[in-house]
Subunit: 199 residues, 2 copies
């Protein structure tokens, strides 16, 4: 005996999500059946809407309903700085801080020879065009993740952009605020010592 | 700055699922945007369909597209035995074994004084009615989970049903096939010794 088709199909759909295997998908599917009807309808609608109504900004690559996005079309933002991030969600994390008022550029990935991802597979060309056509731009702040791929991408970008006379910086590495030295890994400690500041 | 509304709503929907918090919901929502359009449409459709087309069987409480369900309406199944389980997915697990050909009854929960769940909150009345109206019934096999609540429900059902002259049995507790004694907990070992069989 098989699961009735509607639930079998739902399990299959849930399994397409990252990190969700057969057991979890089954649990989620049975949970869905017991959910409020309105919640399920909302869920279905928001799936469709997220896929249909969201686009990538043609300037910065961030996710947006209108093109260009809110940030790119806001003249009050500092047009001399751009933060380069890997994914749209990184923009959100940085915006939550509320301390940065410049622009962003989303790469949609990092250079990764293992996954066969070269410079043409991520949003680099549009960044270079952007820098060329915006003579006001003074600083590119690279905020790729602190992973080997993120570091490599950072180095690559730096070598490409510096010759144009634009300052290239990288987010500081070190101890997270509120963290214990005891639990920090060696690389983080090394970076924290290397980047120590006078007090 | 907030997430664009379509993605904010999708994150909210994902967060209604059990075990999915803000970070995972955000990851799933961004993953959804990059998914194949057909897959997203299928996902939305299967959500709606699972909610709309699936019902609980009016006889056994199992999940089904037609009422009564496939098992209840199959005259070739052994009408003298009924396995009592907590949830519809337990029926699927037992059916996968392909060795049992009797009927099922789904309680949709267990007795749990802590959660305020009494006999009237689970599918017990319909089980008793079923036993009364089916004079062929010879054995009720209780397959609630091996948890304190499952055990309590099992004891409660046994006391209700036995006086009617119907045999009540419980699934055996013991070592899982392929498991190591070294890693078995004390209760399982105790049950395994208690239920030892002659060879």
């Amino acid at each position: 005996m098989q699961y009735p088709e509607p639930i079998a199909k739902l399990i299959e759909s849930y399994m397409k999500l990252p990190g969700i295997g057969g057991k979890t998908a089954t649990r989620l599917a049975f949970f869905t059946i017991d959910m409020d009807e309105d919640d399920v309808t909302d869920f279905a609608k928001s799936l469709i809407s997220a896929k249909r109504d969201l686009h990538y900004c043609s300037i910065c690559g961030n996710i947006t309903e209108e093109d260009p996005c809110q940030i790119c079309s806001d003249p009050s933002r500092d047009q001399t700085k751009v933060i380069v991030v890997e994914e749209p969600k990184d923009v959100m994390s940085l915006e939550k801080m509320k301390e940065y008022h410049g622009l962003y550029h989303v790469l949609h990935g990092v250079l990764s020879p293992i996954e066969g991802k070269g410079p043409e597979d991520i949003n680099i060309t549009s960044l270079l065009t952007r820098l060329q056509t915006h003579p006001d731009m003074q600083e590119v702040i690279i905020a790729t993740n602190a992973t080997p791929e993120g570091e490599a991408t950072s180095m690559y970008l730096s070598r490409l952009i510096k010759p144009a006379g634009i300052k290239v910086t990288r987010l500081a590495h070190g101890l997270a605020v509120g963290s214990d030295i005891e639990y920090a890994d060696e690389m983080t400690l090394f970076k924290a010592i290397e980047g120590r500041t006078e007090i």
